[in-house]
Structures are given as structure tokens and as C-alpha cells.
């Protein structure tokens, strides 16, 4: 028997240039970085030359799961995809996309922990994995087709229950804003073009094997029941969105939207979401009625059910049946997605029947089909914001050749016609014309190419953060904590640790009590009433990013974990800050407590840091990388920081925020670079040596 449960022990390395396949020992090579982003960063650091670009043959792309993936650990079904990321601007640097669904679990059942893809196939291929049989197969019949066709065709060939991860035409054409998609609604942002550059159309997996649980069966069941008992709704919101008898508190913004009289209206017969008390684990799947949350009350009648990733009880992907879409636009009436995946509507400034009427729902469904079939990443809706910005400021007209501009039926856009979306997505997927080529480049290159004015980077509302990406839960969610987190990455930070906690719906007083046990009560400000920086907020920020990396490596869903709070009054609404460690220890048999596992996460986060430094050839991360846009400090213009009613930050205060953040991680105060001491403490002596050789290590 293997020494550890959880991991299969085998990592697959595929060289597409030579058409060869190798098996590596996961435990020997990667145990100390777990999986997921940990393995991804390590491979890029160890093997990919500095300043390799996203579409170079030398780039590698690593699809990583972790020891928990494929087990009954709740919400553990995710895959992290790490590579040199096409949309990072101006230099392409490391970043990750993430996808859920059932693909990662299937990979584990097939006997694999991770897949490392290198080189470039001479012709389009797809990877067919059936347990330990790995084949590189011809994909010429799939190339040029969408993700739906690729999935369908591969399932014909390999079996209806095959898990397929594929790129669409956008990925094939190396559009920077492209995805790898699995299932009907699970996409990993930004990484599709790298697979396209390697001519890898899809990775298809069938697994009949198992993932070993080290713990005794009874102990494992008890731990799972315990974990479920402290879970809330989507985003770990722990109070309902309407007043309910069983609840002390409620919050209109909570994703615990189930209530009497709210239905999955298109189920036959309709299913009531009803009152979902936290003790009733048989009703967990009803807590988050997300269609009406995302799309408004008109979506109730179109909701067939909720769904999502394997092993997750929360089900945050809405599954809709909208018959009009088939009749009016020729797309399937059936659609599934969540959150910004419904972003087709966000292109439009208005609809004839209002912001949340029928047209907006049709636009959401049409947009989903276009994005998920062509394989386009809408970049946390930054694509839509940039489109509107360019349109409103005459930049589309200014930059397109007259004939191209006139060939686009703008009046349909102005009239809020969802069919117009075909014009946008198709052009982007095929890089058609100036519009198609530019819009798919991502904000950084788009803004440069179309000569966006200086205000674009500075004004509030464009959402520009840095390096070609938008903000993602920044100063408006946790003040300095949100700012620090957004500074740390090369793409939009995809971190929800902080925003989930702050948005969980509990009164601030209780949030402060919980915070006091984790980071210090000063970590939490009432919304819109930011206080000056303090060490508690720095701890909160460090905890947030470390847990993000931990979840992306274990894997666990970053929209559910950490479970810092819980819906249980009997626990004083306290969650369990050590739940990841408990799950990890039980599955692998490698006993670690929360602090020890956080140290592993710190190692992973440091790998991201040193990779970034190496590829930027910069030691001074403080000024070169850890930056925030001007609007964070300048908006609203008539207010002073630390007065109620806004989120305006102060530049010196954020400087001190950086100081505290670096201090907690043992990084050099002046540059924010990891030091030899901080790296060696994490067992990263070779990394320190290499940094030193590169001239990137402080004295």
C-alpha cells in the first residue's frame, strides 16, 4: 500500500513534440507542494526558462489536482491550471486558471495526480487517458470545431461518461482571452491559448480506479458530517437572505436565498427551495438558488435545478431551460452557468424590457453558449467593461477601418438585441478584423493598441487594476486587505477568502469576535467605514492568500473555503479554521495542523513570488509589482480617507500595509522580496541559491 492516501502517486508528463509520455513519482517530487498550483509553480520554476512567453514552445502547462480531489471531502472537485499566462501585460508571467466539474476527480480515478504538458504537437491532437493507458490521438476531425462538438465527439469515441477538458476555436487561434472548458459550465480562464499553441485540442479522461482514504471509515464519515455541519451557502454565507424563523440574522446580499415560495420553476413538477435550516444536511443543495440571485426574479420559471462540481453539496451552477433562445437565436434552450458566466448581458447598456427582463436572460444564455463553445474568457467581465468603454468613448469607431466598422450592425446593439452577441464573440474567437484581434487581447494590449486615454488606467469604473487585469474584491471589500491581496498576483487575484468572510451576513460585532480569534478584531471594519492600516488586517491578507494557494493545491473550492464562520448559533457562528488540515490529515494520513499546512501554503505562495521576480527580472517588487491604480486613492475626489461612506485609500497608509504584509512573510521590507532566511525556513534553500545567482536576493 502507498505510504499516503489521497495522492495516486503518479504524475503524467506528456511531451507533445516527441509524442512521448512519462510517469513521475508525485510523492518524491511534489509532496511538499501538494498539487495544483504548487506543482504548477514548481515545474515552471525548475524547468521553464526565465522570460519564456505564453505561446513559446518552451512554455509548459500543468493541470494539477491534489490529495483531496476525487474524495468525499465536500467541495473538493477542482483543478488548477498553471502556465505562463497570455493575458498578463506587458510581460507574460505565471498565473493560473481554475476549473471545477468532474474532470479533476476522474483524473484521480484514472490514477493520476497531475499532468505536465510540454512541447508542441506537429498536428492537432488530443490526449486520451483511460486509467493507465495514455494515448496521443489525432484531433484533426475536432480542430476548427467548438468545445461542444469536441466533447460530444470524444464521448462517442471513448464513452458517454468520459470527462473532457477542451479548448474552442478561441484557444486554437491563441486568443489571449480563451479558456479550457470541462462539462457544460466549468471553465479555467486565460489558459486556452497555451493549449492551442501546443495544438492540444482536449484532454479526455476515464478512470475506474480509486482514491485511498487513510483514515478509518467511521472517522472519515464523522469528519465529513462535521464539515458539512459548519458549511453555509455559496461563498460560505452563513445567514439567509430573507428573515426566516430559524435564523437570528439575515442579509439581503447573502447567497442563502432559499425561502418559502421560491422554486426551481422549470423542474417538472416544480421544486420548492423552501426553508433550509443549517442542521438539515438534506437540504444543503437548495440553499443557494443562484439563478434568481444572478439574473433576477424572472429566472425562477427557467430554473430546472442547481448543479456544479463533483462532491460539492452547495450547487452554485444554475441550470436553465429557456425555450425562446432556441426559437429566436438558434442556440440550445438548455444552459448552465454561474456568476459572470452569464456575462452576455453585461455587454449591453440597456435592454428594451429593463435590466433584468426577458431580453437580459436571453442575452445571458446566448452569451454562455457563445463563450463556452468558442472557448472565450470574459475576464471577470472586464471584456464587457472594456467593450462598453471603447464604444462609449468612440474608440471602436476610431480604431476600426471604416468598412469593418460599418459591417457591424450597431443598431442591434443599441436596441439591446441579444443576437448581436454573435458579432462580438465570433469575431474574437477567429480574430476577425481589427475588432476581433484587438478585443481578445486582454485589457493591457487592447488599451495600448487602441490608445485608450490615460484616464482609463486611473479612473474609477473601468476596474483596471494592473498588468492587464481588473480588480477582484479590492478596496471595496476589506479596504487595505483587499488592496494587498489584489497587489500580489499577475492576473486578477481570484481570492475570496476575505470577501466571503466580510460578506457572510453576520453583524460586524460578531465578525469582529470571530476575527479576534483568527487575525485580530481590527481586521474587520464596518462596510464603508475603513480605518487606518493595522497588523490585524495584514494577518487577514496573508491568511487570505495563503488559504487561496492551499485550496488551489489540495484542491478545495475557493468559493466555499475557508470555513472561518459557520451558520450555527450554538457555535457562536464560529467555523473551523483548521478544517483543511483535518481533511488533509484524514485523507493522506500525513498529520498536519492548520499552522503546518499554512506553512506549506506559504511555500507555494513564495514560489509564485520568486517566479514573478525571475520573469520580471526585478527584485523591487514593492514599486514594480505590488501596485494599486490611482483610482483606489483618488476616488471619490471630495472625500478624505478614513471617513465614513466610501473606500478611498491613502498612499502612505498602503505603504505601511505593504510593510506589515512583508514583515509577516519575512520578506525584505524595502523590496518585498523573499530573503534567504524566509526561504530557508520554508525548506527552499535551492530557490534562495538560484535567486542569488540571478542577482535577485537581498544581502
Amino acid at each position: 500500500m502507498a505510504a499516503f492516501g489521497g495522492w495516486t502517486g503518479k504524475t503524467l508528463r506528456v511531451n507533445l513534440s516527441t509524442g512521448t509520455v512519462q510517469v513521475e513519482d508525485t510523492i518524491a517530487r511534489y509532496k511538499d507542494v501538494l498539487g495544483g498550483t504548487g506543482v504548477g509553480y514548481k515545474v515552471l520554476w525548475d524547468e521553464v526558462p526565465a522570460r519564456t512567453r505564453a505561446f513559446d514552445k518552451e512554455n509548459k502547462i500543468i493541470l494539477g489536482t491534489g490529495p483531496l480531489t476525487g474524495t468525499g471531502a465536500p467541495s473538493g472537485g477542482r483543478t488548477s491550471i498553471t502556465t505562463i499566462f497570455p493575458a498578463v501585460y506587458p510581460d507574460e508571467l505565471v498565473a493560473t486558471g481554475h476549473m471545477g466539474g468532474g474532470w479533476g476527480a476522474e483524473l484521480k480515478y484514472a490514477g493520476w495526480d497531475n499532468i505536465i504538458i510540454e512541447g508542441q504537437a506537429p498536428k492537432p491532437v488530443f490526449l486520451a487517458i483511460v486509467d493507465d493507458k495514455v494515448e496521443i490521438r489525432d484531433a484533426s476531425h475536432l480542430w476548427g470545431n467548438g468545445i461542444y462538438h469536441a466533447t460530444s465527439s470524444i464521448c462517442q469515441e471513448m464513452g458517454a461518461d468520459t470527462q473532457v477538458a477542451a479548448i474552442g476555436q478561441a484557444g486554437e487561434n491563441q486568443v489571449r482571452l480563451s479558456v479550457v472548458m470541462t462539462g457544460f459550465s466549468h471553465s479555467a480562464g486565460g489558459v486556452g491559448g497555451v493549449l492551442g499553441s501546443k495544438r492540444l485540442k482536449a484532454i479526455a479522461v476515464k478512470g475506474t480506479g480509486s482514491v485511498r482514504i487513510a483514515a478509518d471509515k467511521k472517522e472519515w464519515k464523522q469528519l465529513i458530517q462535521y464539515t458539512l455541519s459548519i458549511m453555509g451557502a455559496n461563498n460560505q454565507h452563513v445567514v439567509p437572505s430573507t428573515p426566516q424563523p430559524w435564523a437570528e440574522y439575515y442579509a439581503p446580499g447573502s447567497r442563502w436565498t432559499a425561502r418559502r415560495g421560491l422554486y426551481w420553476g422549470a423542474a417538472s413538477p416544480a421544486v420548492e427551495t423552501g426553508e433550509c435550516r443549517p442542521e438539515d444536511l438534506h437540504r444543503m443543495a437548495y440553499r443557494t438558488a443562484k439563478a434568481t440571485f444572478d439574473l433576477g426574479p424572472n429566472a425562477e420559471k427557467y430554473t430546472v435545478r442547481m448543479g456544479g462540481c463533483v462532491s460539492c453539496p452547495i450547487r452554485c451552477h444554475s441550470h436553465l431551460d429557456v425555450p425562446a433562445v432556441e426559437e429566436k437565436y438558434g442556440f440550445s434552450r438548455y444552459a448552465a452557468s454561474t456568476c459572470v458566466g452569464w456575462g452576455g448581458r453585461a455587454f449591453f447598456k440597456s435592454f428594451p424590457d429593463g435590466a433584468r427582463g426577458q431580453a437580459s436572460i436571453e442575452a445571458a444564455v446566448v452569451g454562455k453558449h457563445l463563450a463556452d463553445d468558442l472557448g472565450i474568457w470574459t475576464h471577470y467581465s472586464q471584456l464587457q467593461r472594456d467593450f462598453k468603454y471603447a464604444y462609449d468613448n468612440g474608440l471602436i469607431k476610431a480604431n476600426l477601418p471604416g468598412s469593418e466598422y460599418r459591417s457591424i450592425p450597431w443598431e442591434r446593439y443599441d436596441n439591446g438585441d441579444p443576437g448581436f452577441l454573435k458579432e462580438i464573440y465570433t469575431r474574437i474567437a477567429y480574430k476577425q478584423g481589427e475588432f476581433g484581434s484587438a478585443m481578445g487581447e486582454g485589457s493591457g494590449r487592447l488599451a495600448e493598441r487602441w490608445r485608450f486615454p490615460a484616464e482609463y488606467y486611473k479612473q474609477q469604473g473601468t476596474n483596471w487594476w494592473k498588468m492587464g487585469h481588473p480588480k477582484h474584491h479590492s478596496s471595496e471589500e476589506g479596504g487595505q486587505t483587499g488592496v494587498l491581496i489584489n497587489m500580489m498576483y499577475n492576473r486578477d487575484c481570484q481570492c475570496h477568502s476575505h470577501s466571503n468572510f466580510l460578506g457572510n451576513g453576520l453583524p460586524v460585532k460578531i465578525q469582529k469576535e470571530l476575527a479576534a480569534k483568527l487575525w485580530g478584531a481590527g481586521a474587520v471594519d464596518p462596510d464603508g467605514n475603513v480605518t487606518p492600516m493595522n497588523i490585524d488586517k495584514a494577518r487577514f491578507a496573508v491568511w487570505s492568500v495563503l488559504r487561496k494557494e492551499l485550496h488551489d493545491s489540495l484542491t478545495l473550492c475557493n468559493w466555499m473555503y475557508p470555513l472561518a464562520a459557520s451558520p450555527l448559533r450554538s457555535r457562536g457562528y464560529e467555523g473551523d479554521n483548521g478544517i483543511e488540515a483535518k481533511l488533509y490529515s484524514a485523507v493522506t494520513g500525513d498529520r498536519k495542523d492548520a499552522a503546518q499546512l499554512d506553512q506549506v501554503a506559504e511555500r507555494i505562495f513564495n514560489l509564485h513570488r520568486v517566479l514573478t521576480m525571475r520573469d520580471m527580472a526585478a527584485m523591487d517588487m514593492r514599486t514594480r509589482h505590488d501596485t494599486a491604480p490611482d483610482w483606489v486613492f483618488d476616488y471619490p475626489p471630495d472625500r478624505k480617507p478614513f471617513t465614513p461612506g466610501h473606500y478611498k485609500m491613502d498612499r502612505e497608509d498602503i505603504d505601511s500595509a505593504r510593510d506589515l504584509f512583508y514583515q509577516l512573510l519575512g520578506w525584505d521590507k524595502k523590496t518585498g522580496a523573499p530573503t534567504r532566511a524566509s526561504l530557508e525556513k520554508l525548506g527552499m534553500k535551492e530557490v534562495a541559491d538560484r535567486l542569488e545567482r540571478l542577482g535577485l536576493l537581498t544581502a
Partner: protein, 180 residues
């Protein structure tokens, strides 16, 4: 109906079950409908008839009415809101709730909330009540905050500054949707 003083243990236990069943279905029990007597008499009887076994049964007052609920399936906060709802006094409902939420969370209260259980007010009742509050000095602390999409909120200036209330209203109505 039996006066509390005359209730025996059996009758009291039956009363307790009635209250528990109603609470489980999200409903308060009007005290006057199940017994005659006041809170002190009820408490005294609980001690003698069912020592410790009815600790979950709570007595609350709203206006001139008294209600019973079981803490096993209903929280006190909700019971108080339900009692307000049962009063069918829109002014009282709205003012008490707004003040409580501005103090507790703190946050402004969206007017739409009062359509839902346990308030179940119509748009007209809400509008009328808000207009009356503006004219009544008793409610001078109740103020309006509007989000940029037109969503209306009320807050109590006793507990929230206008700036904060407006920015929170904007976040709740617009910001959260824009930052999913």
C-alpha cells in the same frame, strides 16, 4: 379556555406542544388564544408543571399582545419581527426594524424587505407609512438612502451616519452585483 392558574400539568404540556408545533411551522402562538393569564403566571406554572421541560418556550410582548414561541425552531429576533408583523401596524413594523438593523449589523434596510414574511406589507402600505413617518417627530431619526439604481433604503440616524448609510445602500443594491 383555562386560566393558567387552573391548568394542570397535562394541559400545560399540551399547550407547550401547540406552541412548539406552531413555531416549527414558522408561526407565533397568540398567548390569549391558548391561555388566560400573564407572563409571570405562565413562568410560575412552567416551573411547577414541567420543571426544566419547557425552557424553550419564550413569552414576548408586542404592543398589548403577548405571544409564545419555542426557541428550538424559532429565534427570538425572528419572533420579535413576527410579532411586529402580526401587529399590522406598518409604522411600528418599519421603524422598529429599521432602527434594529441600523444598530445591529449595522446596515440600512431595503424597503422591499417589508413585502416579505413576516411583514407582508403592500407597496401602498409601505409608501403611506414612510410618508407618515416623515411628518412625525417620533420618527425623526428614520431617513432615506437611495442607491444609484433607484433602490430605496431606510436607516436610523441614531446608529448610522448618512454617509455610511448611502454608501452601504449603494453597495447592497449595485456594488455587490457589479462585484460578484
Amino acid at each position: 379556555m383555562t386560566g393558567i392558574r387552573d391548568m394542570n400539568a397535562e394541559e400545560f404540556k399540551a399547550l407547550v406542544e401547540v406552541v412548539r408545533k406552531a413555531s416549527n411551522e414558522g408561526e407565533l402562538t397568540l398567548a390569549a388564544e391558548v391561555c388566560q393569564g400573564g407572563e409571570d403566571e405562565f413562568a410560575a406554572l412552567a416551573v411547577t408543571a414541567a420543571p426544566g421541560a419547557a425552557a424553550d418556550i419564550i413569552w414576548i410582548c408586542e404592543g398589548d399582545k403577548s405571544y409564545l414561541f419555542s426557541e428550538r425552531t424559532m429565534t427570538r429576533r425572528y419572533a420579535e419581527a413576527a410579532a411586529l408583523g402580526a401587529s399590522r401596524d406598518p409604522l411600528r413594523m418599519i421603524a422598529a426594524t429599521v432602527r434594529s438593523e441600523s444598530a445591529t449589523y449595522p446596515r440600512p434596510t431595503r424597503l422591499e424587505t417589508f413585502h416579505d414574511r413576516p411583514f407582508c406589507l403592500s407597496s401602498e402600505e409601505i409608501t403611506t407609512a414612510v410618508a407618515r413617518m416623515r411628518a412625525d417627530a417620533q420618527y425623526a431619526d428614520i431617513a432615506t438612502a437611495r442607491a444609484s439604481n433607484g433602490a430605496e433604503f431606510l436607516f436610523s440616524s441614531n446608529h448610522l451616519s448618512r454617509d455610511q448609510a448611502v454608501s452601504m445602500a449603494e453597495w447592497l443594491a449595485v456594488g455587490q452585483c457589479d462585484n460578484p
